[in-house]
Symmetry: C2
Subunit: 165 residues, 2 copies
């Protein structure tokens, strides 16, 4: 149930996990609210009040998190203007932010499998334009890789019937 450690790492007592990328990443986006905003961004949400409603957060939390995420460079604040409306800002994922997709969906995948009472949870990931399930996991670079544009979110039947997805 554990990964092999090679070469110089084999003697686990002899080294420390300094500069651990996992720890560093958790410090940056290791909160529920960050993850949910990231989720929404991956689902295509860009506007402030949509983030608020869809993550069921409060103005204060969403404001703080969006600022934090833009500071770090996970999303970008862009002006836009609908006609007859004043200029607003929208938040769009940068490539850096979009690269968190595997992490976010890996959490979803695990939750679907282990935390949903009945079936596999409300949403599932499929290959775009098909019904072929997509899994998040390790593979070699030579294997076919799917990008964000190759993915599609589908609703699980019984959830959509219950009307709340």
């Amino acid at each position: 149930m554990s990964v092999k450690l090679n070469g110089a790492l084999e003697d686990r007592g002899a080294w420390r996990a300094e500069n651990c990328s996992i720890a560093m990443t958790m410090e940056v986006i290791g909160t529920r609210s960050s993850m949910l905003i990231l989720r929404e961004a991956l689902y295509g949400t860009t506007r402030f009040d949509d983030f608020v409603r869809r993550t069921k957060g409060t103005d204060a939390i969403v404001s703080a998190r969006l600022k934090q995420l833009t500071d770090i460079g996970l999303c970008e604040k862009r002006p836009y203007q609908e006609e007859g409306k004043r200029r607003r800002y929208e938040y769009v994922l940068t490539p850096k932010g979009a690269d968190l997709m595997p992490a976010v969906f890996a959490l979803m995948q695990w939750g679907n499998r282990y935390l949903q009472s009945d079936d596999g949870g409300p949403l599932r990931l499929v290959k775009r334009g098909t019904d072929i399930p997509v899994v998040i996991g390790p593979h070699t670079e030579s294997d076919a890789q799917l990008g964000i544009d190759d993915l599609e979110i589908a609703a699980n039947g019984n959830w959509i019937e219950q009307g709340h997805v």
Copy 2:
């Protein structure tokens, strides 16, 4: 920069992400200390004081987290006894816990890419017995999947020279 939403989900304003697996998963293991303990478990650590030293946590935190993780069923408390020592307990990952591997390593992968100052971070994931890099990402089930036993952690050259990995 966002995933396609299909069918009934297309109108993003018309549905709420209820019972979100991402949120549920974050509530269960969404802390730095949980992730680090999970990391250590994936690296093969099983004993209490090793968790403490290797995650640089405190007794209190590690104790609380290990209890929480065993309660949830991510790891199992098993008695063992070295000769001449008294009976102790070790904590080993269950399949449920090991299934978080993609999430944990996806965080590592992102941190390696974006948070490490110089190179790609101290540790990298390769295919076991080779030097072929492994990436965590979406793929279809028909693609070759790698399990925990197919993976190996290797040290990045310059980090090991600096002696602290």
